[in-house]
């Protein structure tokens, strides 16, 4: 099942609260323990990008408006 969408996390805003990680229905997200944001947090990232549907729940619950959501337009790609 190919990914239906993807997200971008703006690391300027992300504070690693982990709410998006918990709420993602498809376990797409995790905190990146290898990286630190400018504020010193481990940012959220797509650990399992293939499962992303672009549903936007992560962006809805994000308290810092750090997430941008995209959905693939496959019809356009096939056309």
């Amino acid at each position: 099942m190919p990914a239906k969408g993807y997200i971008e996390v703006n690391e300027l805003f992300c504070k690693a609260c982990e709410i998006c990680v918990t709420d993602c229905p498809f376990d797409v997200l995790a905190l990146d323990m290898e990286r630190l944001t400018p504020k010193g947090y481990h940012p959220a990232y797509m650990v399992n990008p293939d499962a992303c549907t672009g549903c936007g729940i992560c962006a809805t619950v994000c308290p810092d408006a750090a997430i941008t959501v995209y959905r693939y337009d496959r019809k356009k790609a096939e056309a």
């Binding site: 609260c17 504020k39 797509m46 994000c62 308290p63 408006a65 959905r71 693939y72 337009d73």
Partner: protein, 259 residues
């Protein structure tokens, strides 16, 4: 893996009206969600350039730094009076206050009741997180019975310290209030409902239907000594029984409003 060869469309991005300043809010604090919803709603209504916000005293004291439109900063509790002054001289502007529970339901109870009873055409976004956040977690008028805070260290004893104030219920009894609801910010479903309520509350003002207030149950992970995720469960398990979500006042004119 992000597919670079497949066209993608943007379905959600940070609202421009939120500006680009990183908030001082603690990780997981849902003040940020409330800010974002206000920004989204004002953008969707094309009201950003026509809005004057009134920040209050408490954790949201710097709200004016996080919204990219005109703002004034009120004294503790007085935001509804300040908003009244602005709205009365600039009736075509959209004016809202953003207030916490200590600000609105304790020191500012007189001002909020006055504004609601006069049916001031302002919108109030009211954050209820059951404690005084900014000063480090003291007992608020919304603190739950038994809840430990830094000024109720053995838990709020209702015999000595009284009972929580249910603001939405209280203000809904006033004829001047047109739209009074309580929502929560603890999961995506409730956040969407909260956004719709905020939209309605601003539409009520635009249409001149009366005073509108949205009470939002909000987390305070730091002062509750919980993780951000646990704090959301605490809203559901502990706060919602005392502060039930619901529509407390929908005037007949508001009921006819299509949002």
């Amino acid at each position: 893996m992000v597919l670079t060869d497949t066209p993608a469309k943007l379905v959600y991005e940070r609202p421009e009206a939120l500006g680009t300043t990183v908030t001082h809010y603690c990780p997981g604090c849902t003040h940020g969600v409330a800010h974002r919803l206000v920004a989204e709603v004002l953008e969707e209504m094309s009201e950003v350039g026509n809005t004057i916000g009134v920040a209050s005293v408490g954790c949201s004291v710097f709200a004016y730094n996080y919204f990219d439109f005109d703002f004034v900063e009120a004294a503790h509790g007085r935001a509804p009076a300040m908003a009244t002054g602005i709205k009365r001289v600039l009736p075509d502007k959209t004016v809202f206050t953003y207030q916490g529970d200590g600000d609105l339901a304790s020191i500012g109870m007189g001002e909020i009741v006055g504004a609601a009873s006069r049916g001031e055409l302002i919108t109030v976004v009211f954050i209820n997180n059951a404690n005084y956040g900014m000063t480090g977690g003291q007992m608020a008028p919304t603190t739950l019975p038994g809840q430990k805070t830094t000024s109720s260290p053995t838990g709020r004893d209702v015999k000595r310290q009284g009972y929580p104030i249910q603001t939405a219920e209280l203000l809904s009894t006033l004829e001047g209030s047109a739209y009074i609801v309580r929502r929560s910010l603890h999961n995506s479903r409730e956040i969407r409902r909260a956004k719709k309520a905020i939209r309605t509350a601003f539409e009520v003002q635009k249409k001149g239907l009366g005073f509108a207030l949205v009470e939002l149950l909000s987390t305070c992970p730091t002062n509750w000594h919980l993780t951000p995720v646990e704090a959301r469960d605490w809203i559901e398990e502990r706060m919602m029984p005392v502060f039930p979500l619901g529509d407390y006042k929908i005037s007949s004119a508001v009921a006819d409003l299509k949002v």
